[in-house]
Symmetry: C2
Subunit: 346 residues, 2 copies
Amino acid sequence: MKKGNRYGTHRVIEPIGALPQPAVKISNDMEIYNNEILIDVDYLNIDSASFTQLEQEANGNIEKIKKRILEIVNKRGKMQNPITGSGGMLIGKIEQIGEDLRDKIDLKVGDKVASLVSLSLTPLRIDKILNVFPEIDRVDIEGKAILFESGIYAKIPEDMEDTLALAILDVAGAPAQIKKLVKSGNSVLILGATGKSGLMCSYMAKKMIGKMGKVIGQARNKERANYLKSTNLCHEVIIADVLKPINVLEETLKANEDKEVDISINCLSIPNTEMSSILPVRDGGIVYFFSMATSFTKAALGAEGVGKDVTMIIGNGYTKGHAQIALDVLRESQTLRKIFEEKYIK
Amino acid sequence: MKKGNRYGTHRVIEPIGALPQPAVKISNDMEIYNNEILIDVDYLNIDSASFTQLEQEANGNIEKIKKRILEIVNKRGKMQNPITGSGGMLIGKIEQIGEDLRDKIDLKVGDKVASLVSLSLTPLRIDKILNVFPEIDRVDIEGKAILFESGIYAKIPEDMEDTLALAILDVAGAPAQIKKLVKSGNSVLILGATGKSGLMCSYMAKKMIGKMGKVIGQARNKERANYLKSTNLCHEVIIADVLKPINVLEETLKANEDKEVDISINCLSIPNTEMSSILPVRDGGIVYFFSMATSFTKAALGAEGVGKDVTMIIGNGYTKGHAQIALDVLRESQTLRKIFEEKYIK
């Protein structure tokens, strides 16, 4: 065994010198380096934007989705959707730990872990796809994966089903970033509030703003709006079409005493929603994009085009303590725990 | 004349309900609405990422570049590069002001202005392309353009040549954002420090950090590095390949007493440089992307992939007072004024 690069550049096949994430092809040879960890994979949890794209391309046909996933992984050595650029995460058991890491980390062979780095940079070999669950973006497989020295992970907690923990950890960055971002008294608009990260962000935003602020959750139709109201995670619920920024702006103003909000948080997974995030925010406010379908140029030029002096942030899936923060949200909120248990425990 | 929407949605042909920037096609009919301004255009200043793409596609052939620009504008009603999504800006004379705006703005017919909103959302009709200057991304035309009510603009100052002012206003957001962002004592890495916005950002960063901080400018080769050193706009100059993040990281550490920097600023105009911006920044630091070639997913997943707890910001071309701040930089710095006069006054 030899020592690999901390960031995994030793496995990049094309282009040489690149990091594994932007690389077109990486090695999924499962003989590990001294500072790598080998995982026997149970499930993949495909990124929502990626899974939606795969599903549309295959017209919802499961066999075609399976075939496409295998094609991608065989070609690139990792499960990175070539259209969306995004990945997802995995859950599995530690099979082998490189000798340089053995005494440095809190893992032992047999531990059940979730990888907290994206599949878009994780060496992966799929031997067989066992099952696809489109309603939860989950793919059960037989296969192996590699974690680099810089790779982050979380042990699956004892007090939760593993599929539940995985679903939460997949969006762990979102509530953790909101915890840092949202201040007491803020008005906060959450686009896509009825989705997984939207619900978690709504909970955290409401917790952080205290008594004086307001959380406004957006839903796409009356049914979803009623559902969101029933959770009591937002102060106000609006129905608006996120592809129509003027519609989102008008509904937000109605729900916020005719004022623009301090912060908007985009938790959607569809393209062309940049302006719906930007228009409702006051000058000097913050726009946080978690959606992997966000276009950098559409956001940058869009804000300039309407003369909006806002700070736009690229959602970072990692921040210190994010796994713990996200799991604690579920421990604190019976409402969320119930919703997620119903959705993710099969 | 009738009143149009403040943001210009009344001119969107496809898809209906969209804003002009993300729209595929807008109306470039030059009969103005009550709250629009008609401009008789002299020049376009094409966004650097867009111009580079057009030049590569045409193998540097000027006639092919002209033909492609006409094709794009005829098809979309605006000069928005379909590959990069970006636009640029224009300079021209006020030809007509809609009656609703006449008493509200500080413009009169005949004033020479630069539009400070992107060409990617500005209705434009080109009657003839007179000349293309590839070294400064400038296209001289006969044609007309429309400014919406929300559109921002700057009168061309008396103490500068108009081509010089345009070149500065095109990147006005960059030094203005740096002024807000950089604090006393910060260490700042500027990628693409030898370019137009890179030089302006270097000047502003050095001004803001005071005596204790450090500005490190990146250049791609020895010749550019020597040039950058001669300007004295940075404290340290490094030579590094921005497509090799590990190389950028190592050179930055060498120039910063083996410490990661507080802030990195990406002023490049080539793709795949996200990780070169992220890796050299300390946990808790800030990564600011001005490059229109930035990929949202590559940045978001890249930071997560290497476990970097950084705040990543999408460069906003607009912030309050940005035109004044940028023009003042040139009035303050004889060095910059000389560089830009040599480059942009023909």
